[in-house]
């Protein structure tokens, strides 16, 4: 595949095209990803998540500076929600990072969630692999503004930053319930606004309560992305935390866990499709329901009959090959 060569040579156009291929879920993506896969595993993958408007994009913009000062190549995937009604999306994260657009060592890609729940998009995990193979040192994933259930970035990133800001009242209360558990690092952004110290204390308190290991509490850092304050400290903590992950062996454990989840997800997806095709559920369900309604067939008898039909068709397929 021509794209692959271009990607490995670090060319932008093939890279961008390849990401579209996985976003659009075209069948060519399978060969693409499998051929790139041996070249992956070198990049550090950071997830940035938190409620809408907390300052995630502004923070990412500043972190790009720090990474560039180390001569690291940086890629960003920034996800915004698609409208469930029209499928359209207004992708605005990039606006805050646009001053990096002429730096050839920075690649920024906006993605719409396209109906995927969980704060990321279907294509995201494959897009990460493409960027990794293309040789970026750091890949930053900005999720959509999250609520409690949208925490899938944990399954994609090596390390997750949860960004909070004062004045978000109820949102933070909800966060404390579940999302708190996902942060390796907490950023209280907008420290220029009143209430940030108090929020920091609250977060530390909650973390303390819910931790079995008080010595290993995740860092909570006050910052102002807009005023470029606290960014150095945050960035240093990030690096330290990452080194810890590598040394402790926790990083490879996390990555194995990620592969496990991903394989399961793809297998289930494919089996589901196969089943759909062979059983033709959509075409037949009205008829089956009618039979069961009229008591001409019993529910479980009906279901098992269809499953057996599926198995038989699979065996027929097998013997054909």
């Amino acid at each position: 595949m021509k794209l692959i060569q271009g990607i490995l040579q670090g060319k932008v156009r093939p890279l961008a095209k390849a990401i579209s291929l996985v976003e659009d879920n075209l069948i060519d993506k399978e060969e693409l990803i499998d051929q790139l896969y041996p070249h992956t595993g070198k990049a550090a993958i950071w997830g940035v998540t938190g409620p809408p408007g907390a300052g995630k994009s502004t923070l990412v913009d500043k972190l790009i500076d720090r990474e560039r000062s180390q001569d690291h190549r940086v890629a960003v995937i920034a996800i915004d929600p698609s409208s469930p009604f029209t499928g359209g999306a207004l992708l605005g994260d990039r606006l805050r990072m646009q001053r990096h657009s002429l730096d050839p060592q920075v690649f920024i890609r906006s993605m719409a969630s396209r109906g995927h729940l969980g704060g990321v998009s279907w294509g995201c995990s494959d897009a990460i692999k493409i960027l990794d193979a293309a040789g970026f040192n750091t890949i930053i994933i900005e999720t959509i503004g999250v609520g409690q259930t949208e925490i899938e970035v944990v399954e994609l990133a090596d390390l997750v930053m949860l960004v909070l800001a004062p004045g978000m009242g109820d949102e933070i209360q909800a966060m404390k319930a579940g999302v708190m558990e996902i942060g390796d690092l907490f950023v209280i952004n907008k420290k220029d606004l009143p209430g940030s110290e108090k929020l920091k204390a609250e977060i530390e308190y909650v973390l303390n309560l819910s931790s079995d290991n008080p010595e290993q509490l995740p860092p909570v850092i006050l910052a102002s992305a807009q005023k470029s304050e606290g960014i150095d400290e945050l960035w240093k903590k990030l690096s330290t935390k990452y080194q810890q992950l590598v040394k402790s062996g926790y990083l490879s454990a996390r990555r194995k866990e990620r592969i496990k989840k991903e394989l399961s997800r793809i297998i289930l997806y494919k089996v589901h499709h196969l089943l759909d095709k062979k059983i033709a559920l959509q075409d037949n369900i009205d008829n089956w329901a009618e039979q069961v309604y009229l008591k001409k067939d019993m529910p479980y008898t009906m279901v098992n009959k269809q499953i057996n039909r599926f198995k038989k068709e699979m065996r027929l397929d097998d013997s054909k090959n």
């Binding site: 879920n25 207004l90 396209r114």
Partner: protein
């Protein structure tokens, strides 16, 4: 689950500080089911083109009030070509005199929408020119 979504970059080159028009069109295109990337005020042709390539958009819509369209619009087309990205379709909008339009078309700006153009005209332009 496979689907080709149309992606559109709405960009504002030039020095004027008004982006109401650009924001309006960005939102309207979103409401018509497209994925729209908006990058804010005062973008150079160079940054518009790099953004279009990284984002792998199908269309670039340029919005301009400042009167520099005769230089800036063709510049974007030219830079796309230099980057082997001439398949990205460029259209323009804003306060643009009728008499400038033929020359802009000739230089590769596929359509010009002047103020008051109904959004459905823009949508039908996109539907006619999209790849799939």
């Amino acid at each position: 689950m496979s689907s080709k979504n149309v992606r559109i970059l709405i960009a504002k080159p030039g020095l004027d500080g008004h982006d109401r028009g650009a924001k309006y069109i960005a939102r309207a295109l979103k409401d018509n089911g497209y994925e729209v990337i908006y990058t804010g005020l005062r973008q150079t042709p160079e940054s518009i083109v790099q953004t279009a390539i990284q984002e792998d958009v199908d269309f670039v819509g340029l919005s301009l009030l400042s009167g520099a369209h005769n230089e800036l619009f063709p510049k974007v087309v030219e830079l796309l070509k230099q980057n082997q990205a001439e398949d990205i379709i460029v259209f323009g909008g804003g306060v643009i005199p009728e008499e400038d339009i033929p020359a802009l078309n000739q230089q590769g700006i596929k359509a010009i929408f002047t103020p008051g153009t109904p959004i459905k005209d823009v949508v039908s332009f996109i539907e006619k020119n999209r790849k799939t």
